[in-house]
């Protein structure tokens, strides 16, 4: 009846996950109870859960990302404290089978359910606004994508209490991940969670590519798109081109595990090296999927807070496309030490370091954007500056690892761990934070508190420098990654330093949460009345904060390279707003529960397959198909907002714009 699922699946013998799960369960129950008591369900259901508005979906993506980043960080606390206590004779407090799950879960959660949703959420929210259109190309599909990602995140976290998570590292290298060496359900959780979330990501990629290429405000030629749209395009092209490889690879491993195929097994001619090859053919582009949008965010931030257009726009576009293509020719640098020989290693080493050219161009153009500017040090700009200082070091160590003879020494060391955190935290997370601080007022209509924001900034930045600085050094001293127990006492001091740094980051995380709490409490004081709090340059700042469902009452007519800046300057110059347009009724897509329902069924299918509950899997599949048919049968997919309503909403906006105009120079 329940396949392999029985009471032994619950880790009664391990207090830590049980207590954690119980705590989360209590909190969740409390939140749900509160919502029920307050009667917020209809609002949540109608306005958020079934929403197909790209802004709402974007916000939900970011919320999922934030929660999962905190979840991933709790793993970090476990790892750091455990390792600090696991030297020599002491075994620490986490047995290997548990510790191994923790670093695997940390990596998986941070990449797939922390950073990816955060970044995709920002793209979802911002790209249509910057392009001057009303939504993404496929709004309902967008909701499906989001909920599938959430479904994957849910499965990953369920593994904490029911069964186990993979103990193989964040990429389940075969043959360790094959049934012979990982008989438990951990790898199965990994496979289905990622497969479901991966489909969501892929569809989100299709959606955004189509949006950017086919839906832009009149006059918005390719070379007039804001830089963030370009990097979003690059990132989503990579998603479309790389995620299918992940899907295929995971499917092969699934076939091996479920049906006894021999893709990557030790037996019958299977080839484990093929797993590494394929997973990295996806894995390397993946890191640029993460970091390209962050580059875009920094481009926007540098330009806005230097009060200058972005320097060297054309080079930036070129560099982005360059990175997109070249990132598909470098994947072997993750297994130089497999022994493919001098020619192959040299080719991939060189092509890897060539990426530094494209990235270097970007860095230099950001510098020259500041040159001759008026630099304002608001929180987003602080993150951007810290990013450049920090990321160039991480990039440099990346290039060092791309030199095969150096990699022969550094592969799989803590130096490598330091490298990728240096670029991921310094690039992706700093970028996400900058974007969060920058676009928060747009999304919610009030700014975030600067004091707490700066505190969070300093704690996090100093903390990361300390932690990963220590990792670089122990890496050079020969320490390997993924150690549950350390018997080389020479590394002790640096592990303690890393622990101290982790505590600083924890302080940063807390300060970041405080910032949100304090800002919500003082939202009236922090209200953004104008819709343009930073003196912005691209079209999202022409809308009120938060923007109405339809974003733009009339699609903006773009006349220049910086669409909004140009409109704003013209208004200031002529001391009047553009003419009142001729408002027309607007058709917007109706909300739809398709996304949640599909994800609901997919979660069940995933869970059922993990535990071999075949009837439930079949039921879930049928449910998903029925959902699809019902969705396809809908007759009314859009609703109309009458012209008067549009006019009423836009009148308020125009009044607040008048304020900007009269001030002559917005703050």
């Amino acid at each position: 009846m329940f396949g392999k699922l029985d009471w032994s699946a619950i880790p009664f013998d391990q207090p830590i996950p049980l207590i954690a799960a119980a705590a989360i369960g209590v909190i969740l129950a409390a939140v749900l109870g509160w919502i029920t008591v307050k009667g917020h369900w209809p609002y949540l259901w109608n306005e958020w859960i079934t929403s197909v508005d790209h802004k709402r979906i974007g916000v939900m993506y970011v919320m999922l990302g934030v929660v999962m980043l905190v979840r991933g960080f709790s793993d970090v606390m476990l790892m750091r404290t455990h390792q600090a206590a696991a030297f020599g004779a002491s075994q620490g407090y986490l047995p290997p089978e548990h510790y191994n799950q923790i670093f695997s879960a940390h990596g998986t959660i941070m990449i797939f359910f922390g950073s990816m949703p955060f970044i995709i959420g920002l793209m979802n929210f911002v790209v249509p606004l910057q392009l001057g259109v009303r939504d993404v190309a496929f709004p309902t599909l967008n909701s499906v994508s989001f909920w599938l990602t959430a479904s994957g995140a849910l499965l990953t976290n369920v593994s904490l209490v029911i069964g186990e998570f993979a103990r193989t590292g964040w990429l389940p290298y075969a043959p360790l991940s094959e049934t012979s060496y990982s008989p438990g359900v951990g790898v199965d959780y990994y496979l289905w969670a990622l497969q479901i979330a991966g489909v969501g990501t892929l569809m989100s990629g299709v959606n955004l590519v189509t949006t950017i290429l086919k839906m832009r405000a009149p006059g918005m030629g390719y070379l007039r798109m804001p830089m963030f749209c370009w990097t979003a395009l690059g990132s989503n092209m990579l998603i479309v081109a790389a995620f299918p490889i992940l899907t295929a690879t995971l499917a092969m491993l699934t076939l091996d595990r479920y049906l006894g195929f021999h893709f990557f097994t030790n037996e019958a001619g299977g080839n484990p090296m093929m797993f590494m090859n394929l997973i990295w053919a996806w894995g390397h582009p993946e890191v640029y999927i993460l970091v390209l949008p962050a580059f875009g965010i920094f481009s926007e931030v540098f330009s806005t807070f230097s009060s200058k257009p972005l320097f060297g726009y054309r080079s930036m576009v070129l560099a982005t496309l360059f990175i997109v293509v070249v990132s598909f020719t470098v994947w072997l640098h993750h297994f130089f030490t497999m022994g493919a020989g001098g020619d192959v290693n040299a080719f991939f080493g060189i092509s890897t370091s060539v990426i530094a050219v494209g990235t270097g161009v970007k860095v230099f153009n950001w510098l020259f954007t500041m040159y001759g500017g008026r630099v304002r040090f608001d929180t987003p700009m602080l993150w951007a500056l810290a990013f450049v200082l920090y990321f160039v070091v991480g990039g440099m160590t990346g290039v060092l690892l791309a030199v095969p003879p150096a990699d022969f020494l550094l592969h799989n060391s803590m130096f490598l761990v330091a490298h990728f955190h240096n670029v991921i935290v310094g690039g992706v997370i700093f970028g996400a934070m900058a974007g969060y601080e920058y676009w928060f007022p747009k999304a919610f209509g009030f700014r975030l508190d600067e004091g707490w924001g700066k505190l969070a900034f300093w704690l996090t930045v100093v903390g990361t420098v300390v932690v990963f600085g220590a990792f670089y050094i122990v890496g050079l001293e020969g320490m390997t990654r993924r150690l549950q127990h350390i018997d080389n006492l020479a590394w002790y001091d640096w592990i303690m330093v890393a622990l101290a740094g982790t505590l600083l980051i924890a302080g940063g995380v807390l300060a970041q949460i405080m910032q949100l709490v304090v800002s919500i409490r003082h939202r009236d004081r922090l209200r953004d009345e104008t819709g343009d709090p930073w003196d912005g340059r691209s079209l999202e700042w022409i809308t009120p904060s938060p923007p109405p469902v339809f974003n733009f009452p009339v699609l903006p007519d773009v006349h220049g390279e910086e669409a909004y800046w140009e409109i704003k300057q013209r208004a200031i110059e002529q001391q009047q707003l553009s003419e009142v347009p001729d408002y027309q009724p607007i058709e917007m897509p109706r909300n739809s529960p398709t996304g949640v329902i599909t994800a609901f069924f997919c979660t069940f299918v995933g869970f059922a397959l993990i535990w071999h509950i075949w009837w439930l899997a079949a039921l879930g599949l049928v449910g998903a198909y029925v959902t699809f048919v019902v969705f396809a049968w809908r007759d009314e997919v859009e609703f109309e907002i009458p012209a008067e309503e549009v006019e009423r909403i836009d009148r308020a906006r125009r009044e607040s714009r008048q304020v900007i105009l009269e001030r002559g120079a917005p703050a």
Partner: protein, 132 residues
């Protein structure tokens, strides 16, 4: 209204699979599909039959088959999917080119890497087999 301007087809842009916007080309409609079918059948037949006839130099057969396959894919793209070089089709073709590039990189790259690995990590037994 600019955004309601053209709801049925842009003059300079067409959906993939749609026939070109300036439709009245000679090779459109049923005729186009028929020609496509004829050409594809021809190429398929050639691929199945030629290797058995001894008309092609043995070692060159794989190359011939690959070329035939590429030609047939081209036929499908042009006559069934209406991918052309027309300006209304640029976006579709660029996307296709990007896709083909990625496919080529992944397949050729993997084969190249795995061949080298296989060669470098060959077991003594394999080496014997190679010699033979």
């Amino acid at each position: 209204m600019s955004d309601h301007k053209r709801l049925d087809g842009d003059r300079n842009d067409s959906a993939p699979g749609d026939e070109g916007v300036n439709t009245h080309e000679p090779l459109s409609g049923v005729k186009g599909y028929a020609i496509g079918l004829a050409l594809a059948s021809l190429l398929t037949a050639a691929a199945f039959i030629l290797p058995g006839t001894g008309l092609i130099w043995g070692p060159a057969i794989p190359a011939a088959l690959v070329v035939l396959a590429i030609a047939q894919m081209g036929i499908h793209l042009v006559f069934f999917l209406h991918i052309t070089t027309g300006s209304d089709n640029q976006n579709n073709v660029i996307a296709l080119a990007f896709g083909v590039l990625i496919v080529a990189l992944v397949v050729l790259g993997s084969v190249w890497i795995m061949n080298h690995l296989h060669h470098q990590l060959m077991t003594p037994a394999d080496m014997m087999r190679m010699m033979r």
